[in-house]
């Protein structure tokens, strides 16, 4: 799938099969009014108890996923005092240890950034039409059916 992206002065949304670029995201977020930035990075966890995951693979409904990500960004901007918001999601295979998602919120004061970032990930996991399949080391595969 091709990279799909929407970038304004305040919001940067992206869905892409490439490795996510935390430095570019951290560079985008500050503005002259920003004092605090919170970033959430979701990574493929190799071990869950004694079960080993080799990779997660993600698929999405591209146009709708980007629209839903935009709605979440707008909802966060309505609710907290934010200067900038980022939502980047990786698609396709994401090996253990790599990032599948990076979300960020930048605000004058840190409380807004923390609360908004938590909202971004909690809401994205419920609303955005993206699905992950877990590929275990024993060769089995399984669609994950609920936000985790």
């Amino acid at each position: 799938m091709e990279r799909i992206e929407h970038k304004t002065s305040a919001v940067w949304l992206c869905i892409d099969e490439q490795v996510l670029d935390v430095a570019a995201i951290a560079a985008f977020l500050p503005t002259p009014q920003v004092g605090g930035v919170d970033l959430f990075i979701g990574t493929t966890r190799r071990w869950t108890g004694t079960r080993e995951t080799v990779l997660l693979s993600y698929e999405c409904y591209p146009a709708m996923a980007l629209k839903e990500m935009g709605k979440i960004a707008e909802a966060a901007i309505d609710r907290w005092k934010l200067e900038r918001v980022v939502l980047h999601h990786r698609l396709g295979p994401v090996p253990a240890g790599e990032a599948s998602i990076i979300l960020g919120a930048a605000s004058a004061h840190r409380a807004d950034a923390f609360e908004a970032c938590r909202f971004l990930i909690d809401t994205l996991k419920k609303e955005v039409p993206i699905w992950k399949k877990e590929h275990f080391a024993d060769g089995t595969q399984e669609w994950v059916q609920a936000g985790g």
Binding site: Y61, L124, E127, V128, P129, I130, W131, Q145, G147, G148
Partner: protein, 90 residues
């Protein structure tokens, strides 16, 4: 609309993803529903025809034209419909 147009069934093309795409082995379903059908009617019809959809009936959300809609949504010609099983991004 004329009475004959009202009576003619609605042809829809539904997008599938994730577990439904895999179980049904395809990305789209073409289906006809009676004119005036709601989203919930469509899901009930699909559940009768496809056991794999029946298994997920209670948790499927409808997306119409790239936005979630309630099951009471009245379907129209040209609607872009997708079946959204519980999402798991992040």
């Amino acid at each position: 609309m004329s009475p004959s147009a009202e009576a003619s069934p609605l042809r829809l093309r539904l997008q599938l993803f994730s577990v439904l795409r895999e179980r049904l082995g395809r990305e789209y379903i073409e289906i006809e529903v009676p004119a005036g059908s709601a989203g919930g009617d469509l899901l009930d019809l699909l559940a009768r025809s496809y056991p794999d959809i029946a298994a997920h009936r209670s948790t499927i959300r409808l997306a119409i034209n790239e936005a979630y809609e309630r099951e009471s949504y009245r379907l129209s010609a040209g609607d872009d419909v997708a079946l959204i099983t519980p999402v798991s991004g992040g």
